[in-house]
Subunit: 492 residues, 2 copies
Amino acid sequence: MRNDAYEALLAHVRETAALESVAGRLGWDQETVMPRGSALQRAEEMAAMEGVLHARRTDERIAEWLDAVEPEGAVAKAQVARVARAHSRATRVPADLAQEIARVTSVSQGIWAEARAADDVAAFLPTLTEVIRLKREEGAALAQGGDPYDALVDDYEPGMTGADIAAMFGALRPRLVALRERVLGAAKQPAPLEGNFGSEAQLRLARDVAAAFGYDFSRGRIDIAVHPFSSGSGNDVRITTRVSESDPFNCLYSTIHEVGHAAYEQNVDPDYLLTPIGQGVSMGVHESQSRIFENQLGRSEAFTGWLYGEMRDRFGDFGIGSARGFFGAVNRVRPGYIRTEADEVHYNLHVMLRFDLERALMRGQLDVTDLETAWNDRFKADFGVAVDRPSHGVLQDVHWSVGLFGYFPTYTLGNVYAGCLHRALRADLPDLDARMAAGDPSPATEWLREKVQRHGALMAPREVIAQACGFEPSPEPLLDYLEAKFGGIYEV
Amino acid sequence: MRNDAYEALLAHVRETAALESVAGRLGWDQETVMPRGSALQRAEEMAAMEGVLHARRTDERIAEWLDAVEPEGAVAKAQVARVARAHSRATRVPADLAQEIARVTSVSQGIWAEARAADDVAAFLPTLTEVIRLKREEGAALAQGGDPYDALVDDYEPGMTGADIAAMFGALRPRLVALRERVLGAAKQPAPLEGNFGSEAQLRLARDVAAAFGYDFSRGRIDIAVHPFSSGSGNDVRITTRVSESDPFNCLYSTIHEVGHAAYEQNVDPDYLLTPIGQGVSMGVHESQSRIFENQLGRSEAFTGWLYGEMRDRFGDFGIGSARGFFGAVNRVRPGYIRTEADEVHYNLHVMLRFDLERALMRGQLDVTDLETAWNDRFKADFGVAVDRPSHGVLQDVHWSVGLFGYFPTYTLGNVYAGCLHRALRADLPDLDARMAAGDPSPATEWLREKVQRHGALMAPREVIAQACGFEPSPEPLLDYLEAKFGGIYEV
């Protein structure tokens, strides 16, 4: 009888997962191939899907099934726990609010994209105001008297609160700021990569590197989009990238980053396909996979050594005379405007800025009309340069336009987890550098698949990192790694 | 109170239409961009969508709303009539049968594509057997004691039966066969187009011609697929085409054909968007739009005169020395194997073959193991040549693999309707040839938009043709047109 309840519950959530996968594909379509004139119709379609999903997630039978099940074994227990968590959250958000968020955020993304292209903050503010109002309403409904922002963070990183994040950022910030100052003040600065690099050749290289990092093209594809992203789970995990002819590292490292996300989804145990644990467990753990692919592996001296030769073969001489100089160019530290193009030293400062602003917005401590000024003031203070236009400042990220408040801090949490995983896998794989120097990061990507990715959401976020590493996660491994790497490059 | 029921009914079916649009986009995705390894997961997703749609279409409140409404005006009456018809059909098909058909036909298309590529009928037969079993079951559930095939035909062409079609085909066949014999026996035969025509240039030409025929790229896009098709409604209507470097007419006329379908969907009154009447009324009327675009307009002497100059500009000299010779090459009559490449004289003979075979399959008068032999025997009798391989015969069309039984006859019905519409629009537009000779078919496409397309499904299929033409539809205008055109080209 209780087993029947488990089977019924799993069948229900499996069908829900299939419908979520459909909705996800619709999102991919919207950002890659959708005709421009379809936006309003698409908003209706997304709202209808959201209505269906909300009805399924709040189905009254779920509570009955949850009451009746007595799951046995780790897998069944994890499945039930994920359902219970999702059901509890879904029932707290009214259906009409969920549908309104879906409808508004479907249109708002297009408005953001146009405002960004025109550097016109005013054109985006009415929409952003509406998104913030709806997300605060959602956060309040979820928090039931608690902090609305905490409730939104918990959506992306189960178990984390704004206070946890603030504490972690507090531990990171002093050593990061000190490292930044030492590096920017160093006498010897690496030369940047300059020149023109053809789009087609860049995309071919990105595809080859994606394959080297384990991306399975038979279960995915790479397209061009404004903002690189990974989308889907299991056997249909698609990524996007972008190309700048003057900056091939943009395309290349965006791709490696998204391949990290995609590998996590593609490598989950196939037995979990379209079930609650059949996907990455949290945004923080997800980001740990993308960041370790991109930075600790992709920007390592060993891998960039191979990449240097490969790029010279493909693009000819581009004015950098040694692998060591190329390693410096890849890891050049500059206070740039754009988070997704930021070096590893500055990246977390970008995230801290967004965290403080969005937390204040959600708590009603910052008005949206003051947001641009607050952004620009904080940027000047943290980065030492003034924002020159909104597309380099408050309009640069897609996240807020689609209601992703509470998401940004998971980027830095991902870096912290990546630091931990990197320390652990280096201890297990003493010959990794020799393989990466031959363009083969597979010992590391296989280690991550085995230790982290295949488990999907079987364990809690912090738990999967702790068991993979053999120690409790903390910011120190990341800080030690950054100080050693950039201290070496900048000889400080 | 009764008005409330109408509003509630419309809100329900509008959301259903939005979800149908999502499912349609998923079908587009599957045939254009989906990674190969995603097929099984996609089948789960399609089945889940079908489950949702079936539940919505059979919602018990629909019967209550239908009982309560008293629609006023032609639009409201048409909306209610379409809902009543769809609801009646949906409630007759059990949910598990509908889901099983969705699941099987999602996978079966891939199996068909592989079997066609390998010319391996045996690899496809088990799947086809299963599809036929399910569609016979569906037909029987729909027909409730009547002819299962009639019930399936009625899905695509409301009001038509197998007997109606057999009678129409009986009226067409003698004059078609006689015309075919005269043409193939003519002393003077036009020379074919030969040479190699670059894919990129072909696609550019196809896009330009699509725009000339009124395709709105801001609400659509063109991609490559195995089988050309049009998909979607309202503001997101996508078409596909295919390219053969030795036969540019394949890409060009497939594109014009699909633009005819797409124009019908794009040009429906925007007030009807995502409502029951917000799409083409039947497959026969749909096909009348694609066929009149492709043949009566696109293959006319006036338009091919413009096309001749355009192709010489774009591809250089290709060995045809006059516009008149080019017109002959475009309209060359040959007993080819492939329906979608057939000339206007043979096309309807292809359809008649499929109609007789699929009707026999559905009525249990032909076993699937005898299908290939039956196809080959009939083809030899009708076309005078033996099928040389299955991909040129029984495996050539996608339709049966996805369960589209009862669909083929609507192709010829579309030709009959196109013949009627062409007679009527020529009478209204005496200067059309002068405009088409300048590459501009817009007087005709605007006439069709005004007289047919904007109405969507406001009127019954035969009614929309009759009011557009000002006379009752019959096969004679098509036969008169074919005899005049091909009698002229072949001087018979």
